[in-house]
């Protein structure tokens, strides 16, 4: 709550004056008008000059969308956002021992192992390589992990908020690996971060080489510290944890390294007691972000809006149901529809004031269709934690309140 809007401060001061602090208020108000972060809102903005330009812009003090932060993660407020790009300030976070403070001038990337020449790169050198930009989502495979047993979160932020999309800029991993020379027997790559968890994952080299990026920029500016400043790995479509942040080391090998994050964690326990390992792809998923849990709607026209994405490529179709999955109709997809990125969908609806259950179901270019919760649980049971991409249901009750439900 660092961005308290001016209005609530004024409300607070008014309340204080009612409590008999009128004198104090009289002293505070003129002072407040001079404080740059608490401007007085004019009656008519056409009658007074506005604020001067600033070195680094801020959103309006009336806007309050914010991440919901726990001890080691924070969730993107999907229900408050528009379009497909997540503002960097609202990109979800997941880190395993805090966000490190790194001086980019001292940061280095070491590449070694099964290479012709082990090499060290500075940030300046990495930025001199041919650059590419692309939009892509990053989703934590633990997204919706609290939704397996029963409805867990109230809002879309709580149920699906471990996903965000950004424009990422960097150099293709393949180009940098050509610089060091891969040995023919190199099939796996260990990526390691410079954080206090020294976060480490093994990555199968062949599929990663197609699209993986060593990123230094996000939405046009340098990466945010929470997103790996100054350097992160991005493997579009794969679980967020392999997109190692604060990247400082790549080691090529002939087998997976079997780190804790690909054995103890990020493995999916099945009902028969075996666990799936290296479940890297994020399968197609969608969620209605409006109306969504915690919101309130009124009878009449309601545009149903949401996000869909697939780690296997493009979203080809999103269908919406307003009757709990009895009937489905196609939603409109906002162009451009990009592979491995958020796709915004919309569906015009007229709410008649009766109970309704809203769902969205997407399909991708491989023909994969997002499963119902029952179909997913029938195969995976309730203890696999990761990769819950089931259809989300929002119940609209007669009073217009929207709730997370399982159907």
């Amino acid at each position: 709550m660092s961005q308290k809007p001016t209005l609530s401060r004024r409300t607070f001061l008014t309340a204080a004056s009612l409590a008999g602090l009128a004198a104090a208020q009289a002293m505070l108000q003129p002072l407040q008008a001079q404080t740059p972060d608490a401007p007085t809102v004019p009656e008519d903005p056409t009658k007074v000059p506005g604020a001067p330009p600033s070195a680094y812009g801020q959103r309006s003090s009336f806007e309050q969308a914010q991440r919901l932060a726990g001890s080691s993660s924070s969730l993107t407020p999907l229900q408050d956002l528009h379009g497909i790009v997540t503002p960097a300030s609202l990109h979800f976070e997941r880190h395993h021992n805090g966000v490190p403070l790194i001086d980019p001038a001292r940061h280095r990337l070491l590449i070694h192992g099964l290479v012709e020449r082990p090499m060290i790169f500075t940030m300046d050198e990495l930025k001199r390589f041919p650059a590419v930009s692309r939009l892509a989502f990053i989703e934590c495979s633990g997204n919706s992990a609290g939704e397996w047993h029963e409805p867990g979160g109230q809002t879309a932020q709580q149920t699906q908020g471990l996903i965000s999309s950004s424009e990422w800029t960097g150099v293709l991993l393949a180009i940098v690996l050509r610089e060091v020379g891969m040995k023919p027997d190199a099939t796996w790559m260990l990526a390691e971060g410079a954080d206090a968890a020294a976060m480490t994952r093994s990555i199968p080299l062949a599929p990663a080489l197609e699209e993986a990026l060593l990123c230094y920029a996000q939405n046009g500016e340098a990466l945010r510290p929470e997103q790996g400043y100054p350097l992160r790995l991005l493997i579009p479509g794969w679980e967020g944890n392999v997109c190692i942040k604060w990247l400082r080391r790549l080691k090529l090998g002939a087998a997976p390294f079997m780190t804790r994050e690909e054995t103890s964690h990020y493995t999916d326990l099945m009902p028969n007691g075996t666990a799936r390992q290296f479940t890297l792809v994020m399968e197609a998923k969608s969620v209605i972000t409006s109306p969504s849990g915690g919101q309130q709607i009124r009878p009449g026209f309601v545009e149903i809006r949401g996000l869909a994405w697939s780690g296997r490529g493009r979203v080809t179709q999103v269908e919406v149901s307003t009757d709990g999955g009895e009937t489905w109709r196609k939603a409109q997809l906002q162009k451009p529809v990009l592979a491995k990125c958020h796709t915004r969908f919309r569906f015009p609806w007229r709410w008649n004031g009766q109970e309704a259950i809203l769902q969205s179901r997407c399909a991708d270019e491989t023909g994969y269709v997002q499963p119902s919760r029952q179909a997913l649980v029938a195969v995976r049971g309730l203890h696999s934690i990761y990769h819950n991409n089931a259809i989300q249901s929002w119940k609209v009750s007669r009073d217009g309140a929207v709730h997370n439900v399982h159907v």
């Binding site: 021992n97 103890s264 007691g273 290296f278």
Partner: protein, 162 residues
């Protein structure tokens, strides 16, 4: 300069052995990367009491942070308990993870002997090695973890369409 043929942009420099050694901290299941040193269950009991128990409990069960002991035979049940003893496929991962990430507030502060010994104690608490076992670069990779065969490759897409 047109150096595209070799893929050489002329950027970066060769890493020295000293630089590689300073950061090359991962341990493979084969044991590659394990440093010289050794540790016993007895020594590990003390290291754990001093440096780990306040977060993981006196016996590694009580928490408040991750439970490190027990859960054997629970993976198929309605209440699976995944610990390094019941779930982890390789003992080498324990060395790798504790050396890189524990103790949580002072990571990478343990000596090789401290890591070997606390690993020995944790394996003993999980009834995987005997009380007189000594862990070093040869014995640790040879430890057979109970759930070694418990992992399968990713079969997805796995949910049939309606």
């Amino acid at each position: 300069m047109a150096q595209e043929k070799s893929g050489n942009h002329g950027l970066g420099r060769t890493a020295t052995d000293v630089e590689i050694r300073a950061w090359n901290i991962d341990i493979a299941p084969t044991g590659e990367g394990l440093p010289p040193g050794r540790g016993t269950v007895q020594e590990g009991r003390q290291v754990f009491a001093q440096k780990c128990a306040k977060c993981h409990g006196q016996t590694g069960v009580e928490g408040p942070m991750d439970r490190l002991v027990g859960g054997h035979g629970t993976l198929k049940t309605d209440r699976p308990i995944k610990t390094l003893g019941s779930y982890w496929p390789y003992a080498t991962t324990l060395y790798d993870y504790i050396r890189r990430a524990m103790p949580f507030t002072t990571p990478q502060s343990l000596t090789p002997d401290e890591v070997y010994s606390v690993v020995a104690w944790l394996l003993y608490q999980n009834k995987i090695i005997p009380e007189d076992a000594v862990m070093d670069a040869t014995t640790l990779p040879a430890v057979q973890m109970p759930n070694r065969q418990g992992f399968v490759p990713d079969p997805r897409p796995d949910v049939p369409k309606r």
